[in-house]
């Protein structure tokens, strides 16, 4: 066994971040002088690049995407889109003459606000396009712990998307969460988690399931917190058939 055999043996584990801290440090020290191992690690990473997609996807909580866009553009001041770049440059020049420090801070803040507003606008346009294009509106009453609410679906038959509004329900119990379902001929297909933060209605836009199925309706349930896959396990609150 040569001194290099240990590195050959542990190369994949290193690439997959499975080694403990001590072995990782040993490997990293070796990599600085071994082009062969560096190349092989790149090949391993390339071959297994899609392996993380084996994890079940998770439905983002309402508003997460908007917060991400805001956070990314706010954390690192975004450059302006090209069509207003000249205006920004001119504004920057004026600010440099008139007081560059306070001015540049204001521009950065405005850029972040603009980016957030754009993301918000894109989301609103998307929602409105579904509501305006809806060929059918479906409604079901929902009762939860004495509260009377409802679930509405604006079904856009042209784009096969729905805008779903859930209203009048209390926040989910500490041990559970509201879950939207597609009722398919083949069985129940999990949709998005519905976050009811307070008195305001929750709404979201969804496409049809990408798994092969024929959608016949929709349902809302309260699922146990740890039931993140599989068929419904909790109490069914509403059913809507198309």
């Amino acid at each position: 066994m040569t001194a290099h055999d240990w590195f050959d043996e542990h190369l994949t584990e290193y690439a997959m971040r499975l080694l403990d801290d001590k072995d990782t440090a040993t490997f990293e020290a070796h990599l600085s002088s071994c082009a062969g191992c560096r190349d092989e690690i790149e090949r391993v990473e390339r071959d297994l690049a899609w392996l993380p997609m084996g994890a079940e996807p998770a439905a983002p909580r309402p508003g997460l995407e908007r917060r991400i866009v805001h956070g990314v553009l706010g954390g690192v001041p975004a450059h302006a889109s090209r069509w207003w770049l000249p205006a920004l440059l001119a504004a920057g020049l004026l600010l440099a003459v008139g007081g560059w420090w306070s001015g540049s801070r204001r521009v950065a803040a405005e850029e972040a606000e603009l980016a957030a507003a754009r993301a918000e606008l894109a989301a609103l346009q998307d929602t409105l396009s579904v509501i305006r294009g809806a060929g059918r509106v479906l409604q079901a009453s929902v009762e939860m712990n004495g509260a009377h609410g409802g679930m509405l679906i604006f079904a856009d038959e042209r784009t096969h998307r729905w805008n779903v509004v859930v209203h009048g329900l209390p926040p989910a119990p500490p041990t559970g969460r509201y879950q939207f379902w597609f009722i398919c001929e083949e069985g129940m297909v999990r949709g998005r988690e519905v976050d009811m933060p307070g008195a305001r209605p929750a709404s979201f836009t969804t496409g049809m399931p990408t798994v092969p199925c024929t959608v016949k309706g929709a349902a809302l349930s309260v699922e146990p917190m740890d039931a993140t896959s599989g068929p419904p396990q909790g109490s069914m609150l509403a059913h809507l058939m198309l």
Binding site: R17, L18, W50, P52, V69, C213
Partner: protein, 205 residues
């Protein structure tokens, strides 16, 4: 009205190599709308990776946010490396999740939980349709098929080590088998997975 998944997929637009390349070019040009599109496409998958490792929704969201920040900052490097946006984002999310797992000393808690969950099933859980209207199911299905074809004992080791973020020693402890056995199982599994998955190049069939 009867809707089919296929039509919904068409409306959203497939994430083909060319679309991803176009997204990448626009991100390099600092097009903020491209960022919005990328976040919409990639978040459920990134969140899935982070949540399966961290078991904490708030922390998983933070990791996903960090990954997008990193990608936005280093998007030119991603373009030069030529590995694709999605693999890059998944890699960053996974590595950040591992860093958090290790730095926050949550292992004992996690080990206890995983040990309980492992009892009764030694294989990777079956795929259930979990997220509606999301591109990427094709890749998800292919990866799951590859994982399902592994012998049960190898699949269990991969699940704990790769998808749950345990070190090999922790996997050995959890499964109550020698460390050498864990290493062998993982090595054999990854050789097989490399063969099966190296042909995957795209988000769509």
């Amino acid at each position: 009205m009867t809707d089919s998944a296929g039509r919904a997929g068409e409306r959203r637009g497939p994430v083909s190599t060319s679309r991803e390349a176009s997204l990448l070019r626009r991100l390099v040009a600092r097009d903020e709308q491209a960022l919005v599109e990328l976040v919409d496409l990639a978040t459920p998958w990134m969140l899935g990776v982070a949540q399966s490792m961290l078991r904490d929704v708030d922390e998983a969201e933070e990791v996903v946010m960090e990954a997008f920040r990193t990608a936005w900052r280093n998007v030119s490097d991603v373009q030069h490396e030529g590995r694709g946006l999605m693999p890059y984002l998944l890699k960053v999310v996974r590595h950040r999740s591992i860093d958090r797992l290790r730095s926050r000393r949550r292992r004992q808690l996690k080990l206890a939980r995983v040990a309980t969950e492992t009892a009764g099933h030694g294989t990777v859980p079956a795929v259930e349709p979990d997220e509606a209207g999301q591109p990427g199911w094709h890749v998800h299905r292919k990866v799951h098929e590859a994982l399902r074809r592994l012998p049960d004992e190898q699949a269990a080791a991969v699940r704990l080590a790769y998808f749950e973020g345990l070190t090999q020693s922790e996997v050995a402890e959890t499964l109550d088998i020698p460390l050498g056995t864990v290493k062998t199982r993982l090595r054999l599994a990854f050789v097989r997975l490399r063969t099966e998955l190296s042909g995957l190049k795209d988000w769509v069939p």
